[in-house]
């Protein structure tokens, strides 16, 4: 398995969750937080969200759109979509390997 979203260290997992959240269209910060929490059942704090957003934007994986009433939506870039797809394929292969070793079929 390759390293998850390179050079994001502690924020690799929140970054992955944000990329997945943006995979079906642009969202602003609050919508990303609620979407991640609904999808995983785990809380994501505002500090973590913006630390990860800043890193993703810095690396060109997401881009900011024009703000609407102080809420700025973000969307995946083509590079971001490629990195996300690769990361998800790696996770899927890893999950399949684990399930095979457990003697259980995927899905």
């Amino acid at each position: 398995m390759t390293s998850p979203i390179p050079e994001l260290g502690r924020f690799a997992e929140p970054a992955l969750l944000i990329l997945v959240s943006l995979s079906d269209g642009p969202k602003h910060g609050y919508a990303i937080m609620t979407d991640v929490e609904a999808g995983t059942g785990r809380p994501m704090g505002p500090g973590t969200l913006y630390a990860a957003l800043a890193r993703l934007e810095e690396r060109g994986l997401i881009e900011a759109l024009r703000p609407v009433d102080r809420r700025r939506p973000y969307r995946l870039t083509a590079v971001g979509a490629g990195v996300l797809a690769e990361q998800l394929r790696d996770l899927a292969a890893f999950a399949e390997l684990g399930l095979k070793r457990l003697g259980r079929s995927p899905g």
Binding site: G9, G39, R42, G47, Y50, A92
Partner: protein, 264 residues
């Protein structure tokens, strides 16, 4: 409070993200978890960014998570077991030993971290209850630690310190606020259904038994009966925190599994 939190971030960061970040904070019901996460986020921004656009190789970061809360709750439970059992053996402070002090300090710190780390979802539906569950023991911790520090400094738990109050009594006030905070947290968790209700119930029962044990140890209950809440408190209160921590780690793992499931 939002303005104050924003001011903790570097000016350059605020210029880029300040407006939208303030909008998110206004939209969200902030609890202890969110405030701690923002404080850590501000520290991270100072360490990581130093200037937007200057890509940093700073790989570590600071973020509050359910996992931190879960581990803190388990560690707190173990410290509480040592502290409560040590106190019972110690016969209510007759001969205060340093290791009992370490156990109490450990239990206090870990419980406060757990109250922050595990409070994210409770704060959305019961903000006042969740803030009270953290603030009351936080204030009590300062009072209690002052009492225990006085015991260590004077070497006598029964000496009069302020207005006829002994260091041991001050320390006990701190303990009672931790118990009250734990009870409020258990109620908030039970009502929000964010973590295991069994763990919430166990923690609430454990907290009640600690109060009964203190009541019994003060001579209000005859000695054969007084031992019952003492033993119950030693077992149930730490078990409640440990169960709460295990429940949080399970929720965290289910979240990770959902993420991997989405990928397959």
């Amino acid at each position: 409070m939002i303005t104050l939190l924003l001011r903790l971030y570097p000016a350059l960061w605020r210029a880029r993200y300040g407006d939208e970040f303030a909008a998110v904070l206004e939209e969200r019901t902030l609890g202890p978890f969110d405030v701690a996460d923002v404080l850590l986020g501000a520290l991270d921004a100072h360490l990581h960014l130093r200037g937007l656009g200057a890509a940093s190789e700073h790989r570590k970061g600071f973020a509050m998570s359910l996992k931190i809360g879960g581990y803190a709750a388990i560690a707190g439970g173990i410290f509480w077991l040592l502290a409560l059992a040590g106190n019972a053996i110690n016969d209510g402070g007759e001969s205060f030993s340093p290791w009992l002090g370490y156990a109490i300090v450990g239990a206090t710190v870990m419980t406060l971290v757990a109250l922050i780390g595990l409070s994210a979802f409770q704060a959305r539906s019961h903000p006042a209850l969740t803030w009270a569950a953290f603030a009351i023991p936080a204030i009590g911790a300062v009072v209690g630690l002052f009492g225990y520090a006085a015991i260590v400094a004077t070497g006598d738990s029964d000496t009069t310190l302020i207005a006829g109050i002994s260091p041991w009594m001050i320390g006990s006030i701190g303990l009672l606020t931790m118990v009250l905070g734990s009870t409020l947290f258990a109620v908030a968790t039970w009502r929000a259904r964010s973590l295991s209700r069994t763990a919430s119930g166990l923690l609430a029962v454990g907290a009640l038994l600690v109060v009964l044990a203190l009541f019994g140890a003060s001579g209000a209950l005859p000695s054969p009966i007084a031992i019952v809440p003492i033993v119950g408190a030693i077992l149930a209160f730490p078990a409640g925190w440990i169960a709460m921590g295990v429940s949080a780690l399970r929720v965290d793992r289910v979240g990770a599994a959902r993420l991997e499931g989405a990928a397959s």
